[in-house]
């Protein structure tokens, strides 16, 4: 898992867990308080419903009592119960319907003592049917209303019913009346808009209550008079349900805001994590890249950093390590040079000896001849002169060869500014100007003046070459002193030429790599070697189309050595 991913995960966990806990807590507390509020309202509603039921029962009972009293005085009813004439019979059959409408009831039956329906208001033509179970149950209910599912021609009617009785012409009649329960009555019972009351009774067709929550159920005596029903007492329930609209709406609102907050927070966390990861990982990647580029021939990586955090410390540590490597490498090269010098000395010794041996032999021969036969000395010398000539020629050749093998360098206090001026004056470029910006307080460096001149000539020459296609450009050679791990002298050769690509820069210090027609490909390679030999650092900043800036930093001499 990458450092960036770890940061993302860590940020997400650190943000989501507290946020989730907050949302959960808010929802739970809100639900608890609203539920308690609902329960109080439900309790009030239950009490109101029970009072309404009692009141409704009394109202029904009052109307039945009035009907019973009226029937006892109704002569046509009296005649109809004792005669069989068609007009009387029709009056009897129609009586309950008329009375039901006049009294505002929705259910009315008049039964004789055997339970035979003699007149029915809600179902006029069910006359003569036996239905004794209804008055029997109502009598046992002791004045309380009973829920009755009565039959009608079109289906059924659920009514809250009560019973009364009367006596006409010596016969006892029972009168059962009620009001329709499911719609007319229930709609009046609860006035709280978030509470509803519904009737649940055995054999009821399923109803959709999925959005409602049952609060409380009030039991009621129930009798099903439908065909096929058992016609025995059962229990129905008045169910008070709450519609948790406010709660649901509040919960949805909280959920919506929580999701918004979650999305915003996650977004910010991701952005923060990304920014942090970039701030941390990008310098690390750069350090990694620089570190990977280090080898003994390229100990010029710049690990300098202005950061004051761990990345800066690490960078400075790597810079110090780099410096130690540079010093060590210089020492190693010096040791190698010394070893090479010893070998060379031995070789020279051997070669010189080889060249001197014939000369010594000729000299010994001439000395012996001069001693023994002086008259022949000239002859012998003439004979051996060729040997001498060849030996001398050999030694001269040897000397030339060794002289070519390595230029002799000397380390002495050197004024960099003077060398820069000399190079700028020496190079006359009609195409582009070469300017020098010099630090007058520049300390001297310990170097061979010729080496320093070769370095600057190479760099300025390259800069002028890069301006070939840009006549408006220029070259600036600047010097400055700086303090970094001791006194340093910085020399910068900057041009506004073609610049180099990354690939070109990577190969610029290789031997025999050149992009110039007729170039040897040795210039920058020699420059870097010379700079490293001087214990310095070379750094190149370049960009295609913008130009190249070559920076050389050389260790300055101690204060006692003076300034230029």
């Amino acid at each position: 898992m990458s450092f960036r991913t770890r940061l993302f995960v860590a940020f997400s966990v650190a943000v989501l867990i507290p946020l989730g806990l907050l949302g959960f807590g808010v929802r739970r507390e809100m639900e608890r308080r609203l539920t308690a509020q609902y329960q109080r309202r439900v309790s009030d509603a239950v009490q109101a419903v029970q009072e309404d039921l009692a009141r409704e029962g009394q109202s029904i009972g009052g109307r039945l009592t009035a009907l019973a009293a009226d029937l006892e005085q109704d002569n046509r009813f009296r005649l109809a119960t004792s005669r069989t004439e068609a007009t009387d019979r029709r009056y009897l059959l129609d009586y309950a319907g008329t009375a039901m409408r006049l009294t505002g009831l929705s259910f009315l039956q008049v039964q004789d003592s055997s339970g035979r329906i003699v007149s029915s208001g809600h179902f006029r033509n069910e006359y003569d049917r036996m239905e004794p179970a209804l008055p029997a149950l109502l009598e046992t209910a002791a004045g309380s209303p009973v829920l009755v599912r009565a039959r009608t021609a079109e289906g059924s009617l659920v009514a809250l019913a009560r019973l009364d009785s009367l006596r006409v012409a010596g016969a006892r009649f029972r009168i059962v009346g009620g009001v329709e329960a499911e719609h007319r009555l229930l709609g009046r019972l609860v006035r709280d808009p978030e509470l509803t009351i519904s009737l649940v009774y055995p054999g009821q067709a399923g109803r959709n209550t999925s959005e409602r929550r049952t609060a409380v159920a009030i039991p009621l005596l129930y009798l099903d008079l439908m065909p096929g029903a058992a016609s025995r007492a059962d229990t129905a329930r008045l169910v008070l349900s709450q519609w948790p609209g406010t709660l649901v709406a509040l919960r949805r609102s909280i959920d919506a805001w929580f999701l918004v907050a979650l999305a915003v927070t996650v977004g910010l966390a991701l952005l923060g994590a990304g920014w942090l990861a970039a701030r941390i990982s990008r310098p690390l990647l750069e350090l990694s890249s620089k570190t990977a580029a280090i080898d003994l021939d390229r100990l010029d990586q710049d690990f300098s950093s202005e950061r004051d955090d761990e990345i800066g410390s690490l960078s400075r540590l790597l810079g110090a390590m780099m410096e130690r490597l540079r010093v060590g490498t210089a020492r190693l090269r010096e040791a190698e040079r010394r070893v090479a010098m010893g070998d060379l000395a031995r070789q020279v010794n051997h070669d010189v000896k080889n060249g001197l041996v014939p000369i010594r032999n000729v000299l010994r021969h001439l000395a012996r001849e001069a001693e023994q036969r002086p008259e022949s000395l000239a002859t012998v010398f003439a004979e051996r002169k060729a040997t001498l000539d060849s030996s001398v020629e050999y030694l001269e050749t040897l000397a030339r060869n060794y002289a070519r093998l390595s230029p002799a360098t000397s380390r002495e206090p050197c004024d960099v500014n003077a060398v820069v001026r000399e190079v700028v004056q020496h190079i006359h470029s009609p195409a582009a100007p070469v300017r020098a910006t010099l630090d007058p307080a520049l300390p001297r460096v310990r170097s061979d003046r010729l080496v320093l001149r070769r370095i600057l000539e190479n760099l300025v020459g390259n800069a002028l070459d890069s301006l070939a296609a840009r006549p408006e450009g220029g070259v600036v050679v600047s010097t400055e002193s700086l303090i970094r791990d001791g006194a340093q002298v910085r020399v910068v050769v900057a041009d506004t030429g073609a610049g180099m690509s990354r690939a070109e820069l990577d190969r610029a210090f290789e031997d025999f790599y050149t992009t110039k027609e007729g170039g040897t490909g040795l210039g920058l390679s020699i420059v870097r070697r010379l700079v490293l030999d001087l214990g310095g650092v070379l750094r190149v900043d370049t960009e295609p189309g913008t130009g190249t800036r070559v920076t050389i930093e050389l260790p300055a001499m101690s204060d006692g050595a003076g300034t230029s």
């Binding site: 006029r124 033509n125 006359y127 039959r151």
Partner: protein
Amino acid sequence: MPQSTNWLSGPTAALGMMVMAVGSYGCGHSPPPETAPPAPSPTTAEPAACVVSRGGPAARDTVSIAVAERVDSAHAPIPSNDAERLLFRQRFDSPIRLDCEGGTHPGFATSWSPDSSGRVWTLVLREDSSGSVADGLTPERVADEWRSREASARALQWAGIDSVVPLDHHRLALLLAHPQKSVPEVLADPALAMPAQERPAEPPVVTVSKSGGDLRDALDRGADIVQSGDPALVEYARSRADRETVPLPWDKTYVLLLPAGSPGLDSLTGADSAGFRSGLARDAVHGDARGAEPPFWWVNPAGCAGSAPTNRPASQSSGVVVYSRDDRIARDLADRIVALAALPGVTSRGLSAADLLSSLQVGRERGYILAVPRRAVVPCREMALWPPGATVLPLVDTRLTAILDRDLPRITVDWDGALRIGSDTEGGPQ
């Protein structure tokens, strides 16, 4: 339907009382015909049972009729209810008339005669005073009208009349599929009626009352003719000295139709007994009713086999006994049937006339309470509306009561119970 709506204020003109002024036809103000019909037929008078008013001594220019049912002139001449039947009968003439006992009388055909085979019947159309066919009612026009009107064509088809051929300017020949000894009764069917414009009356004026449909208000305002089956209205009319109440012939039979495939109503014990029917008529029905009495025209009707449209037998039956929701008697009967059946899930439901007809064609209900005419001149056409193979249980016969002003012109009753004001009795078979 030319000129069939000129006496109504619109396509649908009544939900309440309508007052229609009808010419005092045959009451002294109309001029007698100057010339006699070319082939006069013997005059046949309606039997006394079919005369509900013999005509008062005073002449009447207008007769007002009050109805409480919806009247739609677009239905003319075929009525869809009792009110339309009463009104349409005054404005449309069929070729012949059948009185309440089945006697034939001239309509817009003054005489009729068969050929020797009994398959070709020739009608002689009424002529006016100039000796021309009355008001352009030519045989060609009648034949064209019958061919173009779907109801007419179907009536002729169901009655076995293969073709109608105009013979000359006043004779029309009917070619029957089977020979008949008597004139085809389908000629009295409203489906073959034509506008009765030859009557010398002013066009009647129809106004809609504001009574809200209570015919007692119409009586109070002086309506001359009201017909109703409402016992309360009849009782109110009997209490008024200026009105006489005349029970009309039994004109409808209510039946319980059980489609093939219906489980039926087996718990209805004795449903086909006379006692059961009379019990229904006495207790269950609000109206003048009796237990249905035979003969029933749907029992073994002649010539219907194979002619009725074939309907798909009902595969599943509901538990509902349906009826026309505008018919109180049908509802009473359906309710009583449901109460007596006492079967779980069996209920009753009222349907609109159109829905009832559609439901009847499908035949998927448990049962149908239908009001069918007591007498049918085209039985096969009536039975074609029923699902095939249905069982028909007659329940009750009903009739209306005519509430009449005591000073009215002659009024008779047709075969279907419709009142006809000022009937013309001249003409008949040659």
